[in-house]
Amino acid sequence: MHEMSLAEGIRQIIDTQAAAHGFQRVTALRLEIGRFAGVEKPALEFALDVVLRGSSAEGAAVEMIDLPGRALCYDCGEAFEIADRLDPCPLCGSGKIMPQGGDEMRIKDMEVI
């Protein structure tokens, strides 16, 4: 979707952190990406490879942690994990479900030297 913008956001955060913590280099970077965040992970990987060049995180190992999608059923009121946006409620079969999570995109932590 807009992976280049996300990669630039990640670089800005790293630059800010580098100034705050005074580290030289980021060796590993862990991201948390929700299932419904609309992020195409290979595209983000490609964008990071380009955008992080020349930064303290150039060449850092990037790990992306998947966070599950969650939804609330408007018919039976139960919340549950769903794999696909169009899945029906696993408890009552209703199609009236609203995503309640899984749109996260965060930098979780990073290893620095």
């Binding site: 979707m1 807009h2 992976e3 280049m4 913008s5 996300l6 990669a7 630039e8 956001g9 990640i10 800005q12 955060i13 800010t16 952190q17 705050a20 913590h21 580290f23 590993a28 991201l31 419904f36 965040a37 609309g38 195409e40 290979p42 595209a43 490609f46 964008a47 408007y74 946006r85 169009l86 199609g95 009236k96 479900i97 609203m98 995503p99 749109d103 996260e104 995109m105 965060r106 930098i107 979780k108 932590d109 990073m110 290893e111 620095v112 030297i113």
Partner: protein
């Protein structure tokens, strides 16, 4: 995948020769992006397992002196222990990747709140009739104070069309970018100098994917879907319709000519987002325009309430 999109490609705002040619401070902050999380380690443990003769090459940084009778986990900068990552060099960030955009959006939202202004972010595919709908809406609203921010990759055609109605408009050209972001909208709002209790229409770049994730500070996203686009479009692009408060099913005057099933459109919208309000509108014939204008006025009135 839109690998070409992104802010660095240089958005252009109407009347400014190129992005950021005007002086402003890019480090102005709208919040604390470098926050830290205080945390305590209340646990204590003692164990005296032996290490034999080997040397510990690990470093704890932070001027931390101790003897090697036990190992500390969870006392690094991050306060956590992660296998495979060496301690005290792990920085826990837990920061939203879009934190910077969200900070700009929050700043825009504060400006709008101070003015009791109501802002809608109009999102749709290219060609759904956003600009025509806007021109007709401006006519229908009469002397209601309002302004328009037009987002497109190129040209000022849409802002020219809006200005022809007498309304104030700023065109933002995103260049290669596929969406408006909070920063661009903040600058456009500066140029517009909104009157109190204005309606602000932000016509996003025609794109049903990327603009869903970028908060602009608006009060509501309004998705516009024309009846020629196919009944299953909400299922194909669920993120945008999930994020929208209201959907306008536009060009309903064309429905009989293209065998469009309006009930199927509505059912698919509700399947993706049970909360979404659906209005059937034809900007061309004026059908449904009253309901749309009433919704806007109600939003504005709710904003002005203390």
């Amino acid at each position: 995948m839109c690998t070409v999109c992104g802010c660095s490609s240089g958005p252009k705002i109407d009347g400014q020769t190129h992005a950021h040619s005007h002086a402003h401070d890019h480090e102005h902050s709208h919040g604390d992006l470098t926050h830290s999380h205080p945390h305590a380690h209340s646990y204590s443990h003692d164990h005296d397992h032996a290490h034999g003769d080997h040397d510990h090459a690990h470093s704890h940084g932070a001027g931390h002196d101790h003897d090697h009778d036990h190992h500390h986990y969870g006392e690094g900068a991050a306060g956590v222990s992660v296998p495979g990552m060496s301690q005290a060099r792990l920085i826990q960030i837990e920061t939203d990747i879009l934190a910077k955009n969200n900070a700009y959006a929050a700043s825009n939202r504060r400006v709008l709140a101070a003015l009791d202004a109501f802002a809608v972010n109009l999102v749709s595919s290219p060609g759904s009739g956003k600009t025509t709908l806007l021109c007709k809406t401006i006519e229908a609203l009469g002397d209601q104070p309002l302004a328009v921010i037009e987002g497109d990759q190129q040209t000022s055609n849409d802002a020219d069309r809006i200005r022809a109605t007498g309304a104030r408009a700023v065109q933002v050209n995103t260049g290669k970018g596929c969406h408006l972001d909070g920063h661009m909208v903040g600058h456009a709002m500066d140029d517009l100098r909104l009157a109190p209790q204005s309606l602000l229409f932000i016509e996003n770049v025609g794109n049903l994917v990327c603009p869903a994730a970028f908060d602009l500070g608006e009060d509501a996203k309004v998705a516009i879907l024309s009846v020629t686009e196919g009944e299953d479009k909400p299922l194909k692009y669920p993120d945008m319709f999930t994020a929208a408060t209201l959907a306008i099913l536009n060009k309903i005057d064309l429905a009989p000519h293209c065998d469009a099933d309006l009930d199927a459109y509505e059912a698919n919208l509700k399947r993706i987002n049970p909360d979404i309000i659906v209005l059937r509108v034809s900007a061309r014939t004026g059908e449904g325009m009253d309901a749309w204008c009433d919704w806007l006025r109600a939003g504005l009135a709710a904003k002005a309430r203390p």
